[in-house]
Symmetry: D2
Subunit: 99 residues, 4 copies
């Protein structure tokens, strides 16, 4: 099943700067081969359900290995059966509406 996900990893029990953890997670995604896009408050990624959630699990494992004791992650997951749609399609259909 194909899924489009937006997720935000929030390390807890560390310092206040989180960018090194975002960077480590970005490296996990780069190696995963999945299509992804960082934005100001999270990361969009799309692919097969198992691969996407394995990549997010791998982010957790990587951050725990870096010493993060506790992680809170928000995930928005979208699936649809009426038609195939990628993240690029979503933005394009929106651009048409916005003119």
């Amino acid at each position: 099943m194909y899924v489009i996900v937006d997720f935000t990893v929030v390390p807890v029990g560390t310092g206040v700067s989180l960018s090194e953890y975002v960077a480590a997670c970005e490296e996990v995604l780069a190696k995963s081969g999945l299509t992804y896009q960082l934005h100001a408050n999270g990361t969009n990624v799309e692919g097969e359900w198992e691969q996407v959630f394995s990549a997010i699990r791998h982010c957790h494992e990587t951050l725990h290995a870096m010493g993060v004791p506790r992680i809170h992650t928000d995930i928005k997951a979208g699936t649809r059966t009426d038609r195939a749609q990628s993240m690029a399609d979503k933005l394009n259909s929106l651009k048409v509406k916005l003119g």
Copy 2:
């Protein structure tokens, strides 16, 4: 990796009543053998990462099979390495604080 999850499945492109879908998803969880608890805005579930996210994928598959064309699901996933903790532990440590 053990994970505590709160998730809310939002069917899109259906009628306004969602309780039959929540009930179908609850049946998936009951069959999964995972520990879970429904609340007013979602479901808490805990277990091994793969099993928990397989159960949520199974919810999507079940609802799509019922005719739901599009599903948006919110997930909050928590992992920690400093100590083992269940959902019951979380509520108990909170009750101590609240007196």
Copy 3:
């Protein structure tokens, strides 16, 4: 506009134990006069939009005053115009479906 909210406050840049912050936020809600219910992964609260989001802002202010430098909060907000519905109604209509 009446809203049913589920929210989870995640303090960042503090220790790994969060229960004192959950307790402080619970006190804010208790004083707000809003109907709320804690669960294993967050708090359900309902009321007028302005009051509910003021209460969550007050949680942020209270935690920052306790020394938390950074806060990430997840919020799920539901409104409907087809009929009035409280959190208790939601759980009841679900119980009917679950038998």
Copy 4:
């Protein structure tokens, strides 16, 4: 209190295409004067707490007025007291880490 928010509005009880609602909500944000940025799975917006959550409420009101009977919205809200930070700052500090 300054807040950086990512939010996703999910209309329930309508058709499967949501882009007209995203466009209507985008118009609300454009008129609000707040800084915002659409991405594949939601909208990032920043500003004073009251203004940001009023804009999101206005999105709900606008969509209900368009005939949407039920709306589920996910919101991630971030505040910090250690330093001022905009969404552009967040992306820049990340780019430094990513090289």
